[in-house]
Symmetry: C2
């Protein structure tokens, strides 16, 4: 809690001390004392008679006012209207306290005269103004505010300067102060956007999270903190723009059902959580019935991205997007041309879908790096040596956020030991990997690397089984021979197939859902801020303007042809040495299958017809047929 | 429609003509006329006075009755009780019609006397019996039924013989007369189980399907056919047992909502469709609220299996299962010990789940055969030569239904050309493959071969893309060199991994859902009748009694060790020659990963913590930690 202060509104008669005092009292919720009410009757008589008060007249009055303030300050801040024209007068008022803040209301003689003449029923005759102006010793340490402004503007200035508080409602609200929410709040404020933040209050679990957060950072001195819905929403400008950084699922559902009641037509919710895209579609639809906009916005970049600029994938109606675009752009990372790494993705849940595919690509890229690491380790390199090797790959346009993360990790030591060697080899996953796998599975768009990267993580979780089975099948080799250039090319090849699959998945879903996804724009907003940012993403941005099928682009074709033999060589080496490389292997399998004009699926169709009479299509025919197989 | 008939219940007084007539009228739903009601008053007086009727007396009466019958027959069948003792009497009754069926109720004099004495309020004195018996000329073409039986037994006999209708209600009902429904109906009937069948009536699409079906096969002469729910359900014994062979999804849903209204407590529905197992769980739960049992039963075997014995996987409450077990067993295939290939799988939707996994294994086995075929073809063999090679593998305990199907297909020629070469190489799939993939994905049980077999089919469907890409990457080779023994061992190895994954998936789901699946029993019911029946399934049946993890069994361990090098060799040959072999390849990748005690998933955990603060577990620690990585 801040200490109590007394605002003394000073200045000659007619500057509006009473008017401002009353309005300020209401805005700040603290008592107001009008000095005029504390004059002795003899003083009043003098003033009514047009006789200037002597210093002695004033002294007794000022001591009276000083006592009133001092008593009040024990309990609360307060406001006093008092001319306090001389330095000596002010000295009396602040004699026992360092909690007095003078606010000097200043205006030209002409303006004040005009105002006094318009006054009705006030006992201060305009003729005394000259005497007061003569007496006035302008203060040095007061906030000096021109009375040419409207009273409400003056009140706002005082609130902001004297109470360090902003009555101006916040431009955006942010709910959920986890790592991401805290980082985004700072990002907003650093970009000049006023924020009100909310975090729930859970006794013993989450207490005063919002309040403690804003008090912990000087940057957030103007950020209002709340733990109740109503005050939080009240503190926002309309139309209200509320950013959710809540765990997807039940927690988000709970908050949304509250917001559905409290928000009004035209307000906008921006769900930045990893919500399943179909859920987002349903919610957009339901909120639209109430006239409330919901934007589903995928966000990538982790804590660093949220703090310094993330990659953001918003979707919903274009109308709602346009209302929040400036805010999204302000917290987004900037690409190499200084454009925000946020763009309108499309209708419905397309933004969360694109984020889901982003995460799918991320899964595959991470598993690929784990395989590269595993192969290099099996070839006898230590983590530092592997980090050095990976660092050298940056020079060949293979730089990426995840490559750097890996280099950093492999260079991390505790004393003489590498930290990586102390971490349990069981990897976890949250929803997006399996959602992406389900989506591609059900839509029959076999972006198999996402699925197989997920399965690799899942296999790792069967640690006991792995240990048991290694005892049964103990033929693992170490010290295998790996060609580093081939390893680099296998890495590059596999990444090209991963990205092919990712954009293919986006393109096919876009067609199926009429989303009109702009793949090049999506690649562009993925060039900075997000986890899968990389040199290769920069390469893809112009290519995707020409074709969604990057394997058909001649630049990619050339790189594939150059690197495929190395990928095959590495896959064979891994096979020969029983090192599991599911992603490198599947990239080659997929590439070989998708570039084979004549497959053996005709046998499968024949089998299906043989046992299930499912029929098949004969080459050149238009209708399927069932064949009467002999058996 | 059958033509109308008149049943004339004949015989002397006291045999029960009226009693039987009334009961029969009720059972058959047709009018009953009691001849006694049509006697003239003079005839009645004579009979009451103990005077026998003369032939003249009778003639007028019989003409009267003949007219009644004739009038009625225009509209409906009917029943007449009439002594019709003499041949001449009967001739009058049938003078204008060939639609009269005499039923002669026959009893000993002693029995009839006894009955007449017990009669109260009947005007026929027992003394006239002797005269009637003297007059009686036993009929030659009548159904003669002994009155020693109970009236209901007599009614049933008449219904069966005279109306050619079985009042004995059908033991089971079967809805849906597609290929599977028709085959199962015959299977039931051949096993002595009476069936009522239902098929919907859709003008111009499905007309008189049920009626035409039962009329088309002499075997089904006693099978009742319906196209309306109410009559169909009415024709079943209680508790009613209704087998659904309806397309899973909306069609099944529609029928179930009707059955929910029409069935009673204790009735049983057996859904033999490929319903998603969670849907089955929901339905079991909902029907249970009404006291109606629902059994979800997977069935495999295609048309042949349905006709001659299928593999059946029923689940639901044990109570309900026990009520239908004899019927399921009767239509099931028999294993080598003549046990039915049907067994209680477990609670809830476990039966449909097991069927789904069956289909997953089927997908992988089919894709494997397609890869073997592709490799052999690339090595220069023609389909007949490949069929010959596959036939030789049977001798090494590698026989299976799908191997035989493939041999059969590859041997099929149209003139000089192989049919396989005329089939479009785009394979399709129905729901179970993607359901299985979703299920394993979401439960984190990476039975990756099912997923990758599905993806292989999906890749095949991108025919245009494949053709385009082959132009860009035209390096396919033909005439590659393959070692046949290695190919056979690669086939065996891959199948062992496929089966490992399948039973692992079942075992893990069983644990997660408390299903207590008996894996050995499941393997046993898969040894005959179903699509994945094979020699290897016979091998697995005893092994699965010992461990669900077949890779830990020493017999399998030995075979894996023997065949893994060949699988690796084949995978390498395929890689070198750019032949896609996703299943063989993934089997090795999976095997290498699952038998690696120390994986590289520690790097993935480090990466996740690096960018997302997801934390990791340190070796030996009990709680996870977030590391403050330098960046």
């Amino acid at each position: 809690m801040q200490k109590n202060i007394a605002i003394v509104l000073m200045g000659v008669a007619g500057v509006g001390k009473t008017t401002i005092g009353l309005a300020l009292s209401k805005a700040a919720g603290i008592p107001f004392f009008d000095g005029d009410d504390y004059h002795s009757s003899s003083n009043r008589d003098k003033m009514s008679a047009g006789i200037a008060l002597s210093d002695e007249d004033r002294t007794a009055w000022l001591f009276e006012l000083q006592a009133v303030i001092e008593n009040t300050l024990h309990k609360s801040s307060c406001i006093l209207a008092c001319s306090a024209l001389k330095k000596a007068h002010r000295a009396i008022l602040e004699k026992n306290s360092n909690a007095i803040q003078f606010v000097y209301l200043e205006g030209s003689k002409k303006l004040i005269e005009q105002r006094l003449e318009n006054r009705i029923g006030h006992y201060f005759p305009a003729s005394l103004l000259a005497s007061q102006l003569e007496t006035l010793e302008p203060p040095e340490n007061a906030f000096t505010i021109s009375i040419t402004q409207t009273p409400s503007a003056i009140v706002e200035m005082i609130m902001k300067t004297a109470f360090n508080q902003n009555t101006k409602k916040a431009e955006v609200g942010l709910m959920g102060l986890g790592v991401m929410g805290k980082s985004l709040t700072q990002n907003f404020v650093r970009n000049g956007i006023s924020v009100a933040v909310y975090n729930r209050e859970l006794k013993g679990v989450e207490e005063s999270v919002a309040k403690n957060f804003v008090e912990s950072l000087p940057l957030l001195k103007d950020t209002q903190a709340f733990c109740d819905y109503t005050s939080f929403i009240d503190a926002l400008q309309s139309p209200k723009k509320i950013f959710l950084l809540i765990e997807a699922g039940r927690a988000t559902e709970t908050i949304l059902s509250e917001l559905a009641i409290l928000l009004n037509k035209g307000d906008i919710i921006i769900d930045l959580g990893n919500t399943f895209y179909k859920e987002t579609e349903t919610r957009i639809h339901n909120f639209a019935k109430k006239g409330i906009h919901l934007i589903g916005a995928g966000i990538s970049g982790g804590e660093r991205g949220a703090l310094n600029g993330a990659s953001i994938m918003p979707s919903g109606t274009k109308e709602a997007y346009d209302l929040v675009a400036p805010y999204l752009n302000s917290i987004a990372a900037k690409d190499k041309n200084n454009q925000a790494c946020s763009t309108y993705i499309g209708e419905g849940g397309s933004g969360h879908f694109v984020k889901m595919v982003h995460n799918g690509i991320e899964y595959a890229e991470m598993q690929l790096l784990a395989e590269i690491y595993g192969l290099a380790r099996a070839a006898g390199k230590n983590p530092t040596e592997i980090a050095k090797m990976l660092s050298s790959w940056k020079l060949d346009k293979l730089d990426s956020f995840l490559l750097n993360a890996t280099i950093n990790i492999l260079n991390t030591k505790e004393g003489e030991q590498w930290l990586i060697d102390k971490i349990v080899d069981v990897s976890e996953s949250k929803g997006t990997g399996s959602w992406a796998t389900n989506a591609l599975t059900n839509a029959a768009i076999p972006a198999s690397l996402i699925a197989n990267a997920l399965y690799a993580r899942q296999i790792s979780s069967y640690k006991n089984l792995r240990v048991q089975l290694e005892k049964n099948y103990p033929n693992k080799k170490e010290g295998i021979s790996i060609n580093e250039a081939s390893l680099k090319n296998a890495y590059h090849f596999t990444r090209m197939i991963i990205h092919f699959q990712g954009f293919w998945l986006l393109d096919e879903f876009s067609k199926n859902n009429n989303w009109h996804l702009n793949l090049s724009e999506i690649a562009r907003i993925w060039t900075k801020g997000c986890i899968i940012q990389s040199d290769f993403m920069e390469t893809l941005t112009p290519i995707l303007k020409i074709t969604p099928t990057i394997l058909l682009d001649e630049r990619i074709t050339e790189q594939i042809k150059t690197t495929a033999p190395a990928a095959t060589e590495i896959a064979i080496t891994a096979l020969e040495n029983k090192v599991a490389t599911p992603i490198i292997s599947d990239a080659i399998q997929f590439f070989n299958a998708i570039s084979t004009a004549h497959s053996t699926a005709n046998l499968i169709q024949a089998q299906r017809d043989f046992f299930g009479a499912h029929t098949f299509l004969r080459i050149g025919a238009t209708a399927t047929e069932h064949y009467l197989w002999e058996s």
